[in-house]
């Protein structure tokens, strides 16, 4: 197994490690939080665990950190079984969602805390702490207290503190969820940049799919304690393995259709199937808004794909237009310049681009968001 060697900012070479979780299960009373999870994080990789609350992503992280015990299963780090090791001996750096900085210590003291526990001399502690603060660009705040700096800055300090002890694995538990949107985007990129620079194996938990898609090497979509799909961001987005993934990642339209052979007929369009083994019959097809194009309709004819624009949501470069087709509503995502000409009330005709679509048998129309 390849172990990438990378340098940290201070020029020390480190060897990234593999994290392997096998058969992890955890239940709280009658609630199954994790159901036989298998997950391997490659050395130096950043995996984002994505899913709604209660899906088990945070439980996975906490089991890995040692903050919870697994009922069953095994965790190996760098080939060594750490399942029964207490959290304080696991050599992992963890960044919590919020409020984890020690309020009575300055920023620098916070970052140096792990080093202090390891009996590193004050001089070396200071030096390393300042290095880490430099990495997150907060050297100027070294003497401040947590309540004197902003939420985004606090999370950066938390990151510096976690990395200061040179852990083998970096764990992030929804670190951006408590922050403003703008800070979130900036910090997200910064975290990814630092993670790549340090080359550390990382597990990142979030419920925000945009975050997950933006920074991960691979995304693990979870639901009800199970891993629905583990693949690269592009794959998860464009080739979702299950209806849940298709629903959760990106927006989707659910349209009735019929499977005939290897295509599904949706409102007059024949679309290729992702999974050609689906038996013929009535299904619900999942169509991405960006696969829907729209043109103004002056013909006055009614058809399965003609309707009226109900609403148009301006998202910047693109806009999301909602169209009422009479028996259902469809969302389309268009460049704003196009959408601008199609105001509410105008009659339009829709076309679906022939990308492979995911379908689910009609009885399995379940997931609510």
């Amino acid at each position: 197994m390849s172990s990438p060697m990378t340098s940290t900012a201070s020029g020390v070479t480190r060897t990234a490690v593999e994290v392997r979780m096998e058969g992890l299960s955890r239940r709280y009373g009658s609630v199954v939080a994790l159901d036989n999870l298998d997950l391997t994080v490659q050395p130096g990789e950043l995996i984002a665990l994505l899913g709604p609350s209660g899906c088990g992503k945070t439980t996975t992280l906490r089991l890995l950190a040692g903050l919870e015990d697994a009922d069953r299963g095994r965790i190996d780090v760098a080939g060594r079984d750490i399942t029964r090791l207490p959290a304080s001996k696991r050599d992992m750096g963890m960044v919590f969602q919020a409020y984890s900085l020690f309020p009575h210590m300055t920023v620098k003291e916070n970052v140096a805390f792990g080093l202090r526990l390891r009996k590193i001399s004050p001089a070396k502690r200071d030096q390393r702490a300042l290095e880490m603060l430099d990495l997150v660009e907060l050297v100027a705040q070294a003497g401040r207290y947590p309540h004197q700096i902003s939420g985004g800055q606090q999370q950066r300090v938390a990151l510096a503190r976690a990395l200061a002890i040179e852990p083998q694995v970096l764990l992030l538990d929804e670190p951006l969820s408590a922050l403003d949107a703008k800070v979130r985007a900036q910090l997200r990129d910064q975290i990814r940049r630092i993670q790549l620079e340090v080359g550390i194996t990382t597990l990142f938990v979030t419920h925000d799919q945009e975050e997950a898609l933006a920074i991960a090497d691979r995304v693990g979509v979870m639901q009800a304690g199970r891993l629905e799909q583990l693949a690269s961001p592009t794959e998860v987005y464009s080739r979702p393995a299950t209806p849940f993934v298709a629903e959760f990642v990106g927006l989707s339209n659910r349209l009735a259709g019929t499977v005939i052979g290897s295509v599904v007929t949706v409102r007059g369009h024949d679309l290729p199937l992702v999974d050609t083994s689906i038996p013929a019959g009535a299904v619900t097809a999942i169509v991405r808004p960006e696969a829907v194009t729209m043109a103004s309709d002056d013909s006055g004819e009614a058809g399965p794909m003609t309707g009226t624009v109900i609403a148009s949501t301006f998202l910047g470069a693109t806009s999301r237009v909602t169209v009422d087709l009479g028996d259902t509503t469809v969302m389309a995502q268009l460049p704003t310049s196009e959408a601008a000409t199609l105001s509410a009330g105008s009659r339009v005709t829709l076309t679906i681009r022939p990308d492979p679509v995911l379908v689910s048998a009609d009885s399995a129309v379940a997931s609510e968001e």
């Binding site: 015990d69 399942t83 029964r84 001996k89």
Partner: protein, 290 residues
């Protein structure tokens, strides 16, 4: 990884591999240790707090020969001659509790609401004044009250006049309870809404705000009653006779008079029942609302 010593996590070391092999692992065993600690603590403290109470009750049920059982101490509560008779001291104390509560509520609640709605700058002052009795305790206050009560006694020598002082003594506890309740009510928004619908200030106060503070008011009531039932210092030094003073006098003349213990137990029981009633009433009031 650098060496980490955990010198004082002895129990975890002792538990060692055995704990690790147990289903649930180290965190569960830590939780178990914590629970053991908790139950030991509760047992010990429970005993410490219960034994004097139980002893008191046992004494109150003792007859003339040690070890016997008798209700005589309890019947004596109503029949103890005094002077003055215990029963009259009980009556006076209960009346005092009532008067003090009413006066205190009438004085404090409207003022607090008024301040919240129309004179917020005063709230600091009110808080200071309400908490001042904690710093000027009863034993000190009574020294300064003596000349004032000399004046009052020219008009009325009844022990019921004690309510003037008792309201002050109850202020810190009542204020805290009422403030918590008032803060939970978004008074400004509610009053603005009511006023925009045409309500007068009085209406706002008594029909809008106060009903939302019932829990806190009952709380303050209970604290005040409990305080009056147990008050000794001011009454004793101003030479009034209330329940506690009466019991004190009895104890000076007959050290182990059974009625001391039965009366004490009765007072405690009364306070407890009051607590139950008020908390039950509080819950029903809450449920009654849509």
């Amino acid at each position: 990884m650098a060496a980490l010593d955990q010198p004082l996590d002895i129990a975890a070391d002792l538990a060692g591999p055995a704990a690790a092999r147990r289903p649930g692992g180290l965190r569960a065993s830590r939780r178990r240790r914590l629970n053991l600690f908790r139950w030991v603590v509760f047992a010990i403290f429970g005993l410490f707090f219960l034994v004097p109470l139980l002893s008191m009750v046992r004494f109150s049920l003792e007859g003339t020969t040690p070890g016997s059982w008798s209700f005589s101490a309890w019947t004596q509560i109503v029949s103890y001659p005094g002077p003055p008779p215990l029963l009259s001291a009980i009556e006076i104390t209960l009346e005092l509790a009532g008067i003090t509560s009413v006066v205190m509520l009438l004085l404090v609640v409207p003022t607090m609401i008024w301040i919240k709605l129309r004179a917020q700058w005063f709230s600091r002052i009110m808080e200071f004044l309400c908490l001042l009795p904690l710093t000027i305790p009863a034993i000190v206050l009574v020294v300064g009250l003596a000349p004032i009560y000399n004046r009052i006694e020219r008009y009325n020598t009844s022990a019921l006049m004690l309510f003037f002082a008792y309201v002050i003594l109850a202020l810190p506890y009542a204020y805290r309870a009422l403030a918590a309740g008032l803060n939970a009510v978004d008074a400004t928004t509610l009053s603005e809404a009511a006023r925009s619908l045409g309500a007068r200030w009085i209406t706002v106060m008594f029909r809008i705000i106060v009903p939302n503070m019932w829990q806190a008011i009952l709380n303050a009531l209970l604290l005040t009653v409990a305080l009056v039932l147990g008050e000794f210092t001011v009454a004793y030094l101003l030479t009034f006779v209330n329940l506690q003073v009466n019991l004190f006098e009895i104890s000076r003349s007959t050290t182990n008079a059974g009625v001391l213990f039965s009366a004490s137990a009765a007072t405690l029981l009364f306070a407890f029942i009051l607590l139950l009633i008020l908390s039950y009433a509080g819950r029903r009031l809450r449920r009654g609302r849509p």
